[in-house]
Symmetry: C2
Subunit: 358 residues, 2 copies
């Protein structure tokens, strides 16, 4: 299978805390499951060639694309845009912009990746701003939560766009035919949330959007898995995601301390070891690694900066699923319906009905 | 010790899912630790008298105040205000308004309690809106997080008021002399959060406020315990709090399933039982029960609606600590400094320095 016919993913081989080793190991891991996918590996040619030499599966599916500079993990986006035009990150996105690859994956600097992706791929028609979507582990499967930080604010129309993109994303990555969508809100009777949120609910219900909409959801229900797509602005989504990550770590820390408290506990922990290993896998953020920028003319997947090879393979898997799906077409169709409904004012139901009355 | 000299707490004996039994049991529990505190028990006289008859410690410190109606847990605040004027909740707040009690405690309907408290106690001078503060368990102790739902928005000045009130609250309830305060924000370089948040940071640093201010904190750091008071608007705070509650429950659910998975695990769980019991206590929201409305002319503590006797005793304990503290005076002093700085424009440092230059 040559590059021309295969699904091609472009990789920033130098992004992340443990690059390029875990990147190449990640390709090696994914190649075992998906030998049909090809990869463009952007980074220092000699170093990557040496790594590939001892990883035969990865070597069989990778082409090295030399890039001699790297975007620092702590570089500001503006700085990265000025100085990073020959970097592995810039070139990895470039392969998507130039049609050589179906998606780009990087574990590098989020702000820089977002800025470069916006500049090189541009926002798709009928979307005001791209959004960053996260895979949120639930007791049942995964929920797609967006925006988790691409923008700090979102008006009603933008929230609807996020809902449309998140719904198609969930279908593409997790395979559910009709994902259930809700808006994140607070529940108190008197305080029904911001105008934008209520406006978005109104628009989703009445403006031609074809999604299974469940209304509002509160923060404590995100992890229950009854809703597949949770829509919010980037500020709130980022706070919720980080708060959940912090809380999971906090509870895991309590558990670790508990398992070491005294001889009986240590013995008990020993007997529990296999089950606890499974628990750890369940709580592992790497399992669902891969936040995706939605709303650009091209797919860009962001892996956790501190991820390991298995986590990077998971991010590659997200990119492969997205690239092999009908995501872009589904989003375009739903966005066009929404845009048309927004241009043509909705039929004034009650008044029209009255005027038709005898 | 008579009512006149003692610290008096007023109680809505009919608020919450398991009232009035757990309320009276809660008083019984607290009276063992704090026999010096007196209680006004608002509710149906006969029913309360029967309950007190078998709880001698509670009986010794309670006075029953007959109230024949109850605010339903699902009543809308506006409805409660119209129909609830003789209710146990209304009268419990009334005892504070009339100076008979130093604080009121209720496990009832949050919205109704907030509306009644605002109406009967009014907002204190120099505060635009009251806030609801929660005790958030951290790996070290407890953090005070506010606002968690009294308002959905907050401008820069209101966030500063929340910071001042939260700081004094943390000192009153948890006893730290100089609590460390931060504003909840997102961390990305390019997206430094809403204008209100940056404005509040600026004001706290430069407008006469006397608190130990640490700048911004992200969602994943709330539970670490390095910051004692976390300030945010009521929408974001409510989302964060509920998301953390949901995540803790989710992880606890995984753990329960793990402990039951197979014979070895069950045996291990048996050996771990005492340690797991301690872990459970650590994760128990009841331990820090008692969200408080700050910014009113009087103290109102909200206990979880589904709480048990130990949880209700914890809420009573929060009320007692607050009432015995210098909270109101400390807040008034800091608010007055802030109000004065806001009226008198801050000295224009650089220009003044230049004009003094030779």
């Amino acid at each position: 299978l040559g590059m021309a016919e295969a699904l091609v993913i472009s990789i920033d081989a130098m992004g992340g805390d443990h690059a390029p080793e875990i990147v190449v190991d990640g390709v090696e891991a994914l190649a075992a499951r998906r030998p049909d996918v090809r990869f463009l590996l952007h980074g220092p040619a000699d170093r990557l060639a040496t790594l590939l030499a001892s990883r035969p599966r990865a070597q069989a599916v990778c082409q090295i694309r030399p890039a001699e500079t790297v975007v620092a993990m702590d570089a500001k986006p503006s700085q990265a845009l000025r100085q990073g035009r020959k970097s592995s990150m810039w070139n990895a996105i470039g392969s998507v912009a130039e049609g050589e690859a179906a998606a780009a994956v990087s574990a590098g600097n989020t702000g820089a990746l977002m800025a470069m992706a916006k500049l090189r791929l541009r926002t798709v028609a009928n979307v005001h701003r791209p959004a960053l979507v996260a895979n949120w582990p639930t007791t049942k499967d995964y929920a797609a939560v967006l925006d988790v930080g691409a923008n700090i604010e979102a008006d009603a129309e933008q929230l609807v766009e996020f809902a449309i993109m998140g719904e198609a994303f969930h279908r593409a990555v997790h395979g559910k035919a009709r994902p259930r969508v809700a808006l994140l809100n607070i529940g108190s009777e008197e305080l029904k949330g911001h105008d934008e949120i209520r406006g978005a609910a109104e628009l989703i219900r009445n403006a031609g959007v074809d999604i299974d909409f469940a209304g509002f959801i509160e923060g404590d229900a995100i992890g229950k898995g009854e809703i597949d797509v949770i829509v919010t602005d980037g500020f709130t989504g980022n706070i919720a995601l980080k708060t959940a990550e912090g809380t999971a770590k906090q509870v895991a820390g309590y558990l670790r301390a508990t398992l070491k408290a005294g001889l009986l506990s240590r013995l008990g922990a020993l007997l529990l070891a296999p089950a606890l290993l499974k628990l750890r896998a369940k709580m592992d953020p790497g399992r669902a690694n891969g936040a995706v920028f939605l709303g650009l003319n091209g797919l860009v997947v962001k892996s956790h900066g501190g991820t390991d090879a298995a986590g990077f393979a998971a991010a590659l898997d997200v990119a492969v699923r997205m690239a092999a799906s009908h995501f872009q077409a589904e989003v375009a169709a739903n966005l066009a319906r929404f845009a048309a409904a927004a241009v043509a004012p909705a039929p004034a139901g009650d008044i029209a009905a009255e005027s038709r009355a005898p």
